[in-house]
Each structure stands twice: as structure tokens, then as C-alpha cells.
């Protein structure tokens, strides 16, 4: 149950079987930092290449192919005073014949008010005077070494996690990943001070972060897609295009989970999800889109299955 303080010196742009930067044990906690999507650190120095440079990988002792890695984000805080976003909606989130209405404007900066816990455009955006967006820090890209010996770009996501850009990946969440390589090899990066559903401008407020996380390993427990839970919900994550397929992955994973963990067969899972399921559109911008399938814990409590 050690706590490790780790200061990254290099970063990766793919999630594969790279040499680990630190070896830790199940139950251990790591205090570290991430740089922003363009590789800028807490002092806004460019220290890594795009896209989405990752801190890690961390080798978790005992984690082997077929196990599940469990990661809790204990603390997640922007560690500098400005972040940036793209200026315009991504062309793939509007009607094709509306794309011509999107001017070509550069990224712009947002001031982070750590006291007031809000973000505001540094240069006023006409029409948005008075806007103060409450902060809701999240990790855009994290996960383990990819499946089948692959090294997958941090621009995209798959079964191993990756660039899912889900705003539910905030402080306090616990996320599970399937393990494909010895030690699981956990990576993290691409923090957002806040982000709307879908990451529809192609960014959240991109910023460097102070992060603390704790790991665990479930030996012999095999999952197909990332799973998670927070105070109120359990959830599964599907990464694919189109959204329809991402939703199929997430829903199927939820049905499997309800079966193995909660003892519900497909009929019970259908009856329950049919009237109680909730979905989030996590990202509709990256090469793989992300849909999250959620079930409120109060429903499981009602069933005596927690």
C-alpha cells in the first residue's frame, strides 16, 4: 500500500508494450502529473510531442493477460492558470451542408480560477460576456497497453481504453480495464479542466494536471470493455464508430456484467435496463466514438444486489 511520487521525464503517444517507468503493487497509490494534449506542462513548457502524450506506463505487479486492472482517480486538479480549446464545432458534428458556415479560427485560451472553480475566455468572446464555466476536471485519455501486441495511438480508443474523452472520468471514479500485457502497463494524460458531452469542438479545456491514483488487480476476472463506477452509478464503455456500434459494445458489456457480477440472466437484464438504463455520449469527435451505458446504483440496491 505504498504511495509513490513520480515525476515524468518522457511521454508516449501510443499505448503499447513500452518499457515501464515505474513498477508498483496492487493497492499502491501514485502521485504524478500529466501534460496537456499538446505536450505543455504546468509551466506551459512544451515537453512532449502530440497527440495526447501519456505519463507512464506503470507496471502493476502480478497483472497478467486475462486479469482486470482497477484504477481509482483519487485526485485530479488542473495545475496551471490557463487552458485552451478549439474555436469551432468539429465539422463531423453538424449537418454536412452546414459545415461551410464554420469559419476557420484558431484555438483560444481560457483563464482558470482555482478559487472560484471556474473557467473564462481570456479574450472575451462576443456574446459570451459574463460566462464562467464551472470546472469539472477529467482525464481524456488513459488506459492500458492495447490488445494483441498492438500499439494504438492516443488519438483514439478501443478495448484498452485510450482517448475516450468522457467527462465522467473525474475525481472519485473507479475504472476497470482488461489486461493484455504483463503488468497491464497503465498510461494517463490529456486532462480537461471541463468538457461538454461529445467533445464537440474537438477539445475540452486542455490543461496539465496533478493526479493521484490508486491501482488494484482482479486476478482471473476478464472483461471485454472498460467498466466503471462512481457514487451513483455503475457503467460500461464502448469505443467505436458509428455511435450505434459504440452503444452496442457498451450495452453488451453491461449485460455481461449484470450476469457475472450480479447474477441476472439476459431476461432480467433486459427488463431492468429497458426501463432504467441511461446513456452518455462521451465523445463524438475522435476516430473512435465513445458511448457510456449507465445503471443507477439505487436500482441495484433495491434488488439487494450491491
Amino acid at each position: 500500500m505504498a504511495t509513490h511520487t513520480f515525476r515524468p521525464e518522457h511521454y508516449f503517444q501510443t499505448m503499447g508494450a513500452h518499457p515501464p517507468v515505474l513498477r508498483i503493487a496492487p493497492g499502491d497509490t501514485v502521485v504524478t502529473t500529466t501534460v496537456d494534449a499538446t505536450g505543455q506542462d504546468a509551466r506551459s513548457r512544451k515537453v512532449a510531442e502530440t497527440p495526447n502524450p501519456q505519463t507512464g506506463p506503470f507496471f502493476i505487479d502480478g497483472a497478467e493477460k486475462g486479469d482486470t486492472l482497477v484504477v481509482t482517480i483519487d485526485r485530479l486538479r488542473p495545475n496551471r492558470d490557463t487552458g485552451f480549446t478549439n474555436a469551432l464545432l468539429a465539422p463531423n458534428v453538424v449537418d454536412p451542408d452546414f459545415v461551410g458556415e464554420l469559419p476557420d479560427l484558431p484555438r483560444f485560451d481560457w483563464q482558470i480560477d482555482h478559487e472560484g472553480w471556474t473557467a473564462t475566455p481570456v479574450e472575451p468572446v462576443p456574446g459570451l460576456e459574463g460566462l464562467r464555466v464551472p470546472l469539472d476536471p477529467m482525464l481524456g485519455c488513459f488506459g492500458v497497453a492495447a490488445r494483441g501486441g498492438q500499439a494504438i495511438s492516443t488519438m483514439t480508443s478501443a478495448e484498452h481504453g485510450g482517448n475516450m474523452d468522457y467527462r465522467g472520468f473525474r475525481e472519485g471514479v473507479t475504472v476497470s480495464f482488461p489486461v493484455f500485457e504483463p503488468g497491464a502497463l497503465f498510461f494517463l494524460g490529456d486532462g480537461h479542466a471541463v468538457q461538454g458531452d461529445g467533445e464537440i469542438v474537438g477539445t475540452g479545456i486542455e490543461i496539465s494536471m496533478d493526479v493521484q491514483f490508486t491501482v488494484d488487480v482482479r486476478k482471473g476476472e476478464s472483461i471485454t470493455w472498460p467498466r466503471g463506477e462512481n457514487e451513483a452509478e455503475i457503467f460500461t464503455v464502448g469505443n467505436a464508430r458509428p455511435l450505434d456500434q459504440a452503444l452496442q459494445h457498451a450495452t453488451t458489456e453491461m449485460v455481461r456484467w449484470l450476469g457475472t457480477r450480479y447474477g441476472l440472466d439476459v431476461r432480467a437484464a433486459s427488463a431492468l435496463l429497458g426501463q432504467c438504463v441511461e446513456y452518455d455520449i462521451a465523445n463524438v469527435y475522435d476516430p473512435a466514438y465513445t458511448v457510456v451505458c449507465k445503471l443507477p446504483k439505487r436500482v441495484l440496491t433495491m434488488l439487494g444486489r450491491t
Copy 2:
């Protein structure tokens, strides 16, 4: 500002320029009933054909092509003691290679507890003993006569509304539709006592309803897709397949709305939506899927634009 009590005697399965059942004025309120998706009324008598038989159409005086019809659902209550749902997840919401795991089981009934405001399977579903789903009544299918002289099946949806199966269409919501025919010709039906996101078993708890609604007309105000608002949000609705395209429609409509109603240009709308937008997956079962693009009213209040 009259209040009309209307007792339906026949129902429609398409939304087109059918003969109106009642002529009402902007500002008028109608108290009426809807039958369930299979045509059963408050006494469980089969009085109409499938799919989703509609009460109406109501002719709203003065509404003409190019105007907007505004409908508020003042009251929406199940008016009998049982509803039904499909038993299994729809094959299109799980991975194709999981479809074979779905047994072939018939629809089943849910008991409605009007006092406790919950629904429970009439015959216990093994594993779901103790389940009591809180009611959250909604209209699955409503809208106006379709665009361009069409008559569109109540199985599906388009610009005119239709079978959107969005659980946000509950008591208290106000919804706007583009007007395509003289009098707009408003239809309503397909009530659900409750439904999860996506209508992933292909039904909510299907039931007949007592409904009260009030109409208004915005002359000369033209919209492309349904829009709505409730206490907390404004929202737009896109109906299409795949989900990606439904989301494009809804997002584009929100940008147009922020422009014409709130004076925000595309740059301001992008900056605002990028960090503050929320999406709901309303239905991922009907021939056209439905995605809802939402903006919290607190954001507009902050901008002084309400």
C-alpha cells in the same frame, strides 16, 4: 383560451393531412386521452390498429406552413392499472454476435401503482424480485402532419416529430414543431408509464393516458427540427439513422436557435456548446433514431440571455 374536452372515436397510424377531429385556437387547452401502442384504451379494450394509434389531428387556427406550433404537456397520467413491455433487448442494441444469446420471449405486463407511483412486473421476473420502477410518464409519439404532403408512419419520426420515444417528453415540457400543413394538425399517442434511455427493449411500459395540453402558434417563425424546453434546459431534437446523423441534426438546430433567438454567432455558440452541451439518446430502436441536444438554462441566465 378555451378548454376543450375531446373523446377520440378513431385514430390514425400515419401523420399527414388527415381530416381534423377538432378545431382549436392558439392558447386553447385540450383534455383528452390516448390509447397504448397496440390500440388498447383505459379499459384495455382494443379500439385501434397498430402501430402507435394517434389521437387527433387537432387543427390549430391560423397555423400555416412556415410557422411554429408550440405545445405544452400540462398533464400526463396513465389511466389504467397495467402496461406492458417487450421482454428482451432489441437485436440492434447489442453486438451482432451477441444476438444469438437473446431468447424469444413474449411481452409481459407491469402493474401500475398509482399511489406509490411505481411499476412492478405482474409475474415476478427471476432476479428482479423487489424491483419497483418509479413512474415517469411520457409521450412516445406526437407531432404534426409531415413535410411535403407526406403521411409518415407513427413507427418512425422526422422533422414533424412522430415516434421519437424521448423520456424528456413528460408533464411540464413545452415542445415546438415546424408547421407544414394548414392548421398544423397536431397528433398524439403512444404513452409510456416510464422508459429508459434509448427504448432499448423496443418499448417503454406501454399504457393508455389521460392528457391535457395547450397549444400556441408562433407566426412566421420557422424551425427545422423539433425544439423544446423544461424548467432546467432548452433542447433540440434530431431524428435519423445512424445516431451520428441524428446528433448532427440536433446540434445544427441548436446552433441555429442560439443564433436567431439568443443572438449568438457560430463562434460564440461553439465556445458555449463545446464546454456546456449535454446529449440524450432518446431512442435507438425505431426506424429513425432520436438524439436530443440540451443546453442548461443556468448558462443562458449567466449570459443574461433568457
Copy 3:
């Protein structure tokens, strides 16, 4: 076996249970004309409204719901000297971030050389000097009254046919449609002097046509999607978005056809189609896309199943 000469006097923009313009018998032949997509006739006079005004509907004696209507296009010839096309690729057929590269240019005209059987831009397009596109006339939109009492716009397509924009719908083809209304109610229009796969500029060379067709009815034979055959192939047609779903419809319909008509079970159909199927992308522009699933007749001949 009568031959009727029919001169249209009005046209429809939806395919539903409209009053028939002529009553004919199975085996009968009709000689008639169609106007172009914008309603211009052989003398370039605007005689009908957009979109895709249809000649008909023709009531075929004895055709009832659950039967199949069989239509052979005996002759199909452009009947004037110019047609037109859109100028640019449709925004939905290029990458979203390439849409901004498409300038906004008006439709332009093509000269039809009936002798040389080619089309050439009337005003030279820089870079295309010397271009003479061989004619290959086709019907963009035809079919029967839509399913379930609907009236569906001629902009789109579904089980009843409609705006499929498939260049295989040329002289000599035989096409079958499911019958939904008494008399089937056959419509036709939207001729193209030629069109590439996908109709990716949103038009073929749009032109009015002289058409001769012959009808037949298969009593009690029920199909789900349009089917067809020409000298070399049998084929099925799926209409939906995205292309993936259109392909699923067409493939499933082919499996059903191989079963009922050719006596092949799903295993045999799979083995055959797996190595011998061909697909055409008919249109990737209209609200519903169209994919055609083809099986060469030589394969069926080899199996002794013709």
C-alpha cells in the same frame, strides 16, 4: 396484353394511395413519358413541382396487399437535347474537413447527342475538354404506393421503391415490388441520361424521358424489398442509412430469395454468396441510401437453378 399510350397531365411528389391515372391489366404495356427531377418536360417547360414528380399512379388489376408487382422497363430514352447536373460533390460524400473545399456553384447543362449516344457539358468545364460521357439512361425514382398507408416523398426510398437512383434501373431490367395497396399503384419518374455510382453530386444528368414498361402480378408471392434481374444477374435492393443497414436489408432479402425461389437454405446461400456476391452502391446522397446485392446468373445456371 393491351398497349396503352398515356399522356400525363399531373404528377405526384409522394408515393401513396393517390387516385390512379389509368387502370391496366397484368401483361399490359404502357407507353408514356416522365418529366425531369425539377418538373420540366420534353420541351423544357416546367409542368410539375419538385421533387422528382412522378407519372402515374397506374392501377394494376388484381394486385392486392401481399402480392408482388413485376415491372419490365422495355424502353427508356431521353426525349430532349439537354439535361443538367449539380456542379459539386455533395458534402456528405467527402470527409467532413474537406467540405470547406467545395465551392458554391450552380447547376449546369449537358448536351445530349442522341446519335453518338453521349453527353457533353454545354459550357466547357476547364480540364474536361474532350469529355464525352456515354449515355446509359436509367430511372431514378419508381415504385409503388408505400407501406402502411403512408405517402412517402419522392426524395427518398423504402420498401416500396422510390428514389433509389440506381444506374442498374436501365432499359431491359425487370424489377419487382411488394404490393401494399389495391392495384399496387405504380409510379415512375426522375430519369437520368447517365449517372455514376452513388449519385455523388446529388444528380445524374437529369432529363425527361420516353418510357415503355410492361407489368405483371405474382399473386400471393410476398417480398420485403425490391428485387430485380437483368441478362446477367439477379439482385435485391436495400434502402436505408447508413450504407451498412442498406446492405443488411439487401443481403437478407437475397438470402430469403435464394431460399424460397431457388431452394437454398441459409448454409448453402452463405457458401454461395460468400464467394460469389457482388454489391453496387446505388445512391449515397438521398435521405435513404441504396445498396444492391447481386448474384451472377451463371452461378445459378451452374447449379441447375434458373
Copy 4:
């Protein structure tokens, strides 16, 4: 212009910056072999792991990031007497509610008649007696090390090529790939004795191959997606899901090619493609689907642009 005979001793299941097995020069020819999708060689011995084990990579001298690698398949012949296919249509190519009709049957073998140049099921498939499918050998999976330092599974495809399963990749074709790593690092494998469009059973007739290919490098010529040509056509390849996006990639790449190589601006390219383009659905089974955009060379000849 050397000719190398290379006998593989190990194989790769990802396409990334693996150590090259042979260093060759532009203009060189390689005579080698590939094993089948499951790793069985010419003597049906299992010598490699799934999926789609690759021969190579070949390091091509002088090829650098930003260049284009050009590969001609000079000769491609099955080198054993049996291949195999899956037995049933893949669940994703039929309607979701038809998936339950697909029985669970094992792969089966096909006899290859090298004289008659046909394939026949070893055990007769009821209903397919007499079937002899003409051979049309192709490479299912080939290409270069993936973009951005990735190692991508040979189950799927992207800008670097990979598992495109296009039956146009037959003897005589020339294919170009963008170069991402020093030496390009060319891989090849997954031969099919024949395959229908779409690879809709999830396999062609999977078999080991004798292959001869010749490489060239176009220095400083940068492409985004694979391009190719055969006697009759030039073509571009898009790999993505859904098919709609694969088609967008291929079409956009064709427009770029017509611009840089043939001097046609977007307007001319639109007018030409609109009436002359052809598409192939290469695969609709793998994680990324593949669409091919083709332009007949006779059209370019007519324009004096060859």
C-alpha cells in the same frame, strides 16, 4: 533491379516498426510465400499465430516518412490444394432480427483445382452440388508500418493498408501506400483463392500463396490513403466504419489525386466523378470496413490525361 528469393521464418500479427527481414532497393523484386489467415503454410503446417500472420517486413532503401511506396503484385498463386471458409454469413451483414436464423456451423474446406482454376467444397454442401467457383487469387492483408509509431493488428486496416480484403488486390495490380517509417516496412499475407465482395462470411477461401512483387518509391510524393491501378482503372481505398465514412475517405482521396496528378480542380473532378465514378465494397466484415473508389482509365484517356 535485383530479384530476391525470401523464405519467411517468422511472421507478424501487427503492422508496425518491427525489425526488417530483408533490405531491398527500389525496383527490386521479391519472390516469397505467405501463410493463410490461421498461420498454415503450403504443407498445411501451423507455423504462425493468428490473426493473418504477415511475411516481412521488407525494408525499402530510401523510403522515408512522407514518401509513397509503390508495390506491384507480379504473381499470386495458391500453393496448396485446399483452402477453407467460414460456413455462415457474418451477423453484421444481415438484418439484426435475422441473426437468429444463422446456425452455428464450423469452417469447411474447399478443394483447389489448379488445372481447372476452380474451387469446390470438399464435402458437398446440400444445394450446391455442381458448384465450381472460378479462382481469382487476392491478398487480403498487406501494407506498411502504421502511422504515428503505431503497431496495428492485421485484423483491421487504416491509412497504412492492412486487412482490406479487397478482391481487386489480385495479380497485376499496382498499389501505393503512404510511408510512415524509415524503409516503409512492407508486409503481406492473408491470401484468398477467391472472395466475393464484402467478405461477408468473414473469409475468402483462405489459403497459403506463392507471391512475387516488385517495389518502387516515389520520393516526396505524399498520399493519405492507399491508391492503386490496374489495366482498366485507377482507384483509391478508404478504411473505416461505417461504410459511409470509408466511402468519404476514398472519394476525398480520389479528388486529391485528380488534382495533383491529373490537374483537375474540384469542379472538374466533381463533374467527372459524378457521372463516371464506380465503387466497390471491398470488405464489410473487419473492424474497419473498406470502400474502393474507381475511375475508368478510358475516361482519363479521353481527356488526354493518362
